[in-house]
C-alpha cells in the first residue's frame, strides 16, 4: 500500500532523510511541468525542480498537515520559477532577433491546407505567441499560465504568488488584454 504524503513528511521529520526521495519521485513530474510552462526552458525547469525540492526539504517543518503536500510544493515551485524568470530578465540577450517584424504579423489562419506553408504558419503563430508572452511582466505571465494552462483558481494563484486575490485577478486581466492586443494580427476577419 502506498504511504500517504503526510505520513512520509512525518517520517522525514522523524529523522529518515531518505523518505523524502519518495515525495520527490511522486511530485517531480508535476513540478517539472509547471516549472517548464513558467520558465519556457527545459534546463531552467530542471534547475527549478531541484531548487523547489531543496527549499521544500529545508522548510518541511513549516508544512502544515491540513494542506496537501502536492499543493504546498507546487506553490514553492511557482515561486522558484518566478524567481528564475526574474533572474533571467537581467540577461536581455535572449530577445535579440526574436522580435517579429510587425509587417509580417498579417497572416491568414483560415487557410487549412497542410504542407510546408502550413508548418511555417504555425511556427509564425508560435513565435508571435512566445513574443506576446515575453511582453508580459513576470507576475502577469505566471498568473496567466496558472489560470489558462494549469487551470488554477484565483485563490490558488494568489496563494502561489503570495499576493492578494484581487491582485491575482487583475494580473490575469492585464495579461489577457495584453495578449489579445499582441495577437490581434492573427485574428481572422469575417
Amino acid at each position: 500500500m502506498e504511504v500517504n504524503d503526510h505520513a512520509t513528511v512525518r517520517t522525514v521529520l522523524g529523522g529518515d532523510k531518505e523518505a523524502y526521495g519518495t515525495l520527490v519521485a511522486r511530485h517531480s513530474q508535476n513540478v517539472f511541468r509547471v516549472a517548464f510552462r513558467i520558465t519556457g526552458d527545459e534546463a531552467d525547469a530542471d534547475e527549478v525542480v531541484q531548487e523547489t525540492f531543496l527549499r521544500g526539504y529545508q522548510r518541511l517543518q513549516s508544512f502544515e498537515s491540513r494542506s496537501e503536500f502536492g499543493t504546498w510544493i507546487y506553490r514553492i515551485a511557482v515561486n522558484c520559477a518566478l524567481n528564475m524568470i526574474n533572474k533571467r530578465k537581467l540577461d536581455a540577450t535572449y530577445q535579440i532577433g526574436e522580435e517579429t517584424d510587425p509587417s509580417q504579423k498579417q497572416v491568414q489562419v483560415a487557410d487549412t491546407s497542410a504542407g510546408p506553408e502550413r508548418t511555417l504558419l504555425s511556427r509564425e503563430i508560435e513565435s508571435l505567441q512566445a513574443a506576446a508572452m515575453r511582453n508580459l511582466t513576470a507576475t502577469e505571465r505566471t498568473a496567466f499560465i496558472l489560470r489558462h494552462m494549469e487551470d488554477r483558481s484565483t485563490t490558488e494563484i494568489a496563494a502561489a504568488l503570495e499576493i492578494a486575490p484581487n491582485a491575482a485577478k487583475q494580473a490575469v486581466f492585464r495579461a489577457v488584454q495584453k495578449l489579445r492586443r499582441s495577437l490581434a494580427p492573427l485574428r481572422v476577419n469575417p
Binding site: G14, K17, E18, F36
Partner: protein
C-alpha cells in the same frame, strides 16, 4: 441591462463569474456582447501551452540524488528536562504567601543590582583590546568567506560554461580550470580541517572535475564533455556549488551583521 465589460467576460470564460446565469442570459439577448465574447473565446482558445518535454520514470530519483547530499537529517525533538515542575511547585507557595508581591519586588531588585554590578565590573576588567580582537577575528572570517564565495562563484561560471561548451572552447576553459585547481586544493584542505563535510565533499568533487578538464592534452572533445557530464555528474555538481555559494554568502552576511552589532561594544 448594462453591457458586459471585458473583465466580466474574462471571469465568465474562466468560470469565476459571480453571476454566471445572468451573464448567460445577457449573452443570449445581446448580440454585441455575444460577439465580444465569441472574439475573446476565439483569442484565448488559440493560446495553447507548448508541449512539455517528457521526463522518464526515474526523473524523481535523479532529482533526489542531486540534492540529497545538500540536505541534513532532521533530528527528532527531545523532551525538555522536567525542570518546569519545580517552578510549578513554587507557584502555589508564592500564591499563598501574602508577601508574594514583596518577594517579586525583591527579585526584581536583585536582578537590577546584578545587572548594574555586571556592567561596572565589565568596565573595569575588560582589556581595551578585547573588542578589537573579536572584531579582528570576525573580520578575518569575513575575508575567508568572501574569498571562498569568490572561488565558488568562479567555479560555478566554469561549470556553466562547461555545460554549454562546444569542442572549440576548450582553451580558455582549461586555463581557468588549471587556475582554479590550485586554489581549490588549498580551500579543500582548510575546509576539511575546519570540519565542514558538505563543503569539503563538494570541493573534492569539484577538484576531480577540474583535474579532468585541465589534464586533457588534446583538448576537450565532445565525447569527453559528454563523459564529464554523465560520469562526473557536472550538472549535480553545478547545483551543489550554487547551494554552497548561497550558503557561504549568507554566512558572510550574518558575520557582517554580527560585526555591525558589536561595533557598539568596542566603544565601552
Amino acid at each position: 441591462m448594462k453591457h458586459l465589460n471585458e473583465e466580466e467576460l474574462i471571469d465568465y470564460y474562466y468560470g469565476e463569474s459571480e453571476s454566471p446565469a445572468a451573464i448567460d442570459t445577457h449573452l443570449r439577448e445581446c448580440s454585441g456582447c455575444a460577439k465580444d465574447y465569441a472574439s475573446l473565446t476565439s483569442d484565448l482558445s488559440a493560446i495553447v501551452a507548448a508541449p512539455t518535454p517528457t521526463r522518464d520514470a526515474d526523473y524523481g530519483a535523479k532529482v533526489w540524488q542531486s540534492i540529497r547530499s545538500s540536505v541534513p537529517v532532521y533530528e527528532v525533538p527531545r523532551e525538555a528536562p522536567r525542570k518546569r515542575s519545580s517552578w510549578f511547585a513554587l507557584y502555589p507557595m508564592l500564591h499563598s504567601w501574602s508577601g508574594g508581591l514583596a518577594v517579586a519586588a525583591a527579585c526584581l531588585f536583585v536582578i537590577a543590582a546584578a545587572f548594574f554590578a555586571g556592567r561596572l565590573w565589565e568596565h573595569r576588567n575588560t582589556p581595551p583590546s578585547l573588542a578589537n580582537n573579536v572584531n579582528g577575528e570576525q573580520g578575518k572570517q569575513r575575508v575567508v568567506l568572501v574569498v571562498l564565495g569568490d572561488h565558488l562563484d568562479r567555479s560555478e561560471r566554469l561549470l556553466v560554461e562547461l555545460k554549454h561548451a562546444g569542442p572549440s572552447t576548450e582553451a580558455p576553459l582549461q586555463a581557468e580550470a588549471r587556475d582554479l585547481l590550485s586554489t581549490n586544493r588549498l580551500y579543500r584542505e582548510s575546509v576539511k580541517q575546519a570540519g565542514d563535510p558538505a563543503l569539503a565533499s563538494a570541493l573534492d568533487h569539484l577538484e576531480r572535475v577540474l583535474i579532468e578538464v585541465s589534464n586533457q592534452p588534446a583538448g576537450l572533445s565532445q565525447a569527453k564533455l559528454d563523459e564529464l557530464q554523465k560520469e562526473m555528474n557536472t550538472d549535480g555538481l553545478l547545483f551543489e556549488v550554487r547551494v554552497l555559494r548561497s550558503r557561504v554568502q549568507e554566512d558572510g552576511d550574518s558575520k557582517r551583521n554580527v560585526a555591525a552589532a558589536t561595533k557598539g561594544v568596542s566603544i565601552l
